[in-house]
Subunit: 236 residues, 2 copies
């Protein structure tokens, strides 16, 4: 049986797991072409790219033959196609805001994907101020949408939403790959930590995660910047 | 008469003009609270923020009392509300991809909003390879959507789309504030340069730009990183 999608991304969680969480939850079948195929596409002249793009992730909807680049655009496409948006202007906007926030957290924790490396001093300041602030932003948004009183209106509703999936893809992935961060999340965003773990434990996503780790191990964002994060985490 | 929106952003074009282009084109009335009001909101405890957020832009839809943060989420909200999406899954996805691309270009030209400063060597490499590649990505996408043969199917259609507005807000703003970059754009993305100038010259947007420049001058992204860009541009 043909796959529904092809996802071109590095063999890493990071931005990729946002898309994998959604693809798994939506019950789709997808493949991930080998890194050589991704590199060939990425380095091709723009005129030869199926969709001109700079960097992965890149998604191919094989049935519709639609290509999408940019993680938030891919999530929006999948969210529409698989009916994962709340379909309310305020909640849809908040979903996209949360996805944007998640992207910012990924940028911050990797010093913009390795533009600089972490010093112990900079990391200590980050986990003292900005990372807890980000966690509190997610937590407060969750609380205002009923996450803590079992009356979720957008996050933590019985039918998982795109926002739930993005929140979990951010925080469950980060704390799974970098467990030293989990206590900080549980302190500053206990309801978000619980939601993220619930979403990550749903059968389809749990199965995807187990298969992923069996194949790829515990890498998070890869490269020198991951080594830098692990180095400062060990020194904290 | 009350304003339709309040936009909280620095008194700079950069990400702000993406939103201003859309607000102006949609014929809305908006105010931009003074920087002190923005700073007070930004620095407030998350529990006291109307929408917990880390950094501007932040938009308040005053009629609906909806708050949205993150530039792409704000554009998506306004695009839905003011019917600026093509309303076709592939084209809507491509619109969001282009907005994501635009955000990446803003990050790259500012070394991630000033995380590092430009050296002449790094800048020369940027304008030799990656910036032309970004321009070519936009151009090739435009060409595939009829931009160069007056049969535009998504970009350059008679009714300007969210994609047109975002493309112009990126390239017309950059070349207006940093005119030394214009020849590069005209070389690598002539159709995108022409589209951007056409959109920027539409009456509502032209009036917004004129008022903006009268009040705020020629700043682009502000801060030390703008000084760094102007320094290396002068040395190129």
């Amino acid at each position: 049986m043909a796959e529904d999608y092809s996802l071109y991304y590095w063999p890493l969680p990071f931005r990729g797991h946002f898309i994998r969480y959604v693809l798994a939850h939506a019950g789709t079948r997808w493949d991930e072409p080998p890194i050589e195929a991704l590199a060939a596409l990425k380095n091709a002249p723009v005129s030869e790219q199926p969709l001109p793009f700079m960097a992965p992730p890149l998604l191919h909807d094989r049935g519709a033959d639609i290509w999408v680049a940019q993680m938030p655009a891919i999530l929006a496409y999948l969210g529409e196609k698989h009916a994962l948006y709340p379909c309310d202007p305020a909640k849809d906007a908040l979903t996209n805001t949360l996805i944007g926030n998640a992207g910012d957290v990924l940028e911050e924790i990797t010093c913009n994907c390795g533009r600089t490396m972490w010093s112990q001093e900079a990391w200590d300041a980050f986990v003292d101020v900005r990372l807890p602030r980000w966690m509190a932003i997610f937590e407060e948004i969750g609380r205002r949408h009923g996450l803590t009183d079992d009356a979720g209106t957008m996050l933590g509703t019985p039918q998982s939403t795109l926002a739930d999936l993005a929140v979990a893809a951010l925080w469950a992935t980060m704390t799974e790959c970098l467990p030293a961060i989990e206590p900080l999340l549980k302190t500053h965003a206990p309801a978000i930590a619980a939601l993220s773990n619930r979403v990550a434990a749903m059968p389809a996503i749990s199965a995807m995660r187990a298969e992923w780790r069996a194949q790829h191990g515990e890498a998070y964002c890869g490269g020198q910047i991951e080594a830098s994060i692990r180095h400062v985490l060990a020194g904290s």
